[in-house]
Symmetry: D2
Subunit: 128 residues, 4 copies
Amino acid sequence: MPYKYLTEVRGYELDSFGHVNNATYLNYTEQARWNILKESGFLNDFIKSGMFLVVVETTIRYVRELKMFDSIEITTTLKQEPPYLIFYQEIFNKTTNEKSAKAKTKTLLINKERITQDLPPELIHIIK
Amino acid sequence: MPYKYLTEVRGYELDSFGHVNNATYLNYTEQARWNILKESGFLNDFIKSGMFLVVVETTIRYVRELKMFDSIEITTTLKQEPPYLIFYQEIFNKTTNEKSAKAKTKTLLINKERITQDLPPELIHIIK
Amino acid sequence: MPYKYLTEVRGYELDSFGHVNNATYLNYTEQARWNILKESGFLNDFIKSGMFLVVVETTIRYVRELKMFDSIEITTTLKQEPPYLIFYQEIFNKTTNEKSAKAKTKTLLINKERITQDLPPELIHIIK
Amino acid sequence: MPYKYLTEVRGYELDSFGHVNNATYLNYTEQARWNILKESGFLNDFIKSGMFLVVVETTIRYVRELKMFDSIEITTTLKQEPPYLIFYQEIFNKTTNEKSAKAKTKTLLINKERITQDLPPELIHIIK
């Protein structure tokens, strides 16, 4: 079952063409990834531990533009392909009922010493 | 009665000190101003008209830092001091129950020809 | 011969890990694309015409992190694969002398009526 | 003699009105402040020390809009009004030869333990 994160487009995120700038879509997908950590109950420990998810590669396909106050839902599924943790995400526009974007983000979990590490036991359950 | 807009801090909005960057607070207050237009039912007409609110001056006092996923409420009251439209806004952190910032934003309403204009009849009621 | 655009990392672009956030790399590549239009002498006419480049797909591989004040050079080559205009870009860190990222951005040129169009004669020469 | 920092407006910084969004001006002034630390030769030590400059209050007056590729120079003078360190900054548009904005930023220097502290000896000379 995918994770879901709901938010809305903010007015200052529009660029000079009156729609959301393409880089901002990556902000949305990042926020949805953070939200998985939050829902896992492990966010604060994660931040304190000094671990972080390094983004190694992103591919994003833009399907439809987004406009101010569009209500968007980002759905996320995760897969482990050691050493990578891969996020498959879709941005769905609930205001227009259309898919807006589809992204694949390949990440590496790194510890404070910048060494690749496995998902800690506290986070294993986020893969489902 | 002030306007209220609710949103939450996004992870990518944190700067290298682990809290929301000071410029981002202005983004929040802008979004709350857009939301007044949205609630007025006049947002789309406003955008099509080519009118815009030019920010002439902002004063913001930062009271407390904001952290990832903090739930924030921006309250706004408006005053007309012709030719200016002035927004008094507060950012309140509902996660910590503390005031986070207080801002005053002086704006001018400009039409497509870049001439200062009065609030159109459709928007007069937003002053209350 | 590729296009080159030089800029430097700004302090507020660092995220809570102390390095440039991954979405910001797309900002850099966008700016380098705008700069091609600027160097073509056609930027102002382009903006007035209402044309725009819709980003259809981006793939970006992150090779090395970027830090505050790193001097970066974005090199760009373009290819036409009708109806697409494809940008191959690399971000090179001149401060550390290392490649930082490599991106491919697939775009469509759209006119004011949102119809795909060929490169106008004034821009044909940017493909070289 | 004021500090000077030179940069240019990036295309993605324009908002839906085709000019630089008002919050982005604060980004420019922040970057100019970082550059003072860089020129002092103390930037890396500063970052490692865990010290940071907390922005307590900002007042910014917007004089003229900024457009894509405008070349801007931010001049900064500092004053100590213990416990505050105050930055007076102007954004000057060298492309149009007009002043674009004027800002006053009141800051507190805080150490790792979040306690207000005086300028360390290595930084005293930045006040001139």
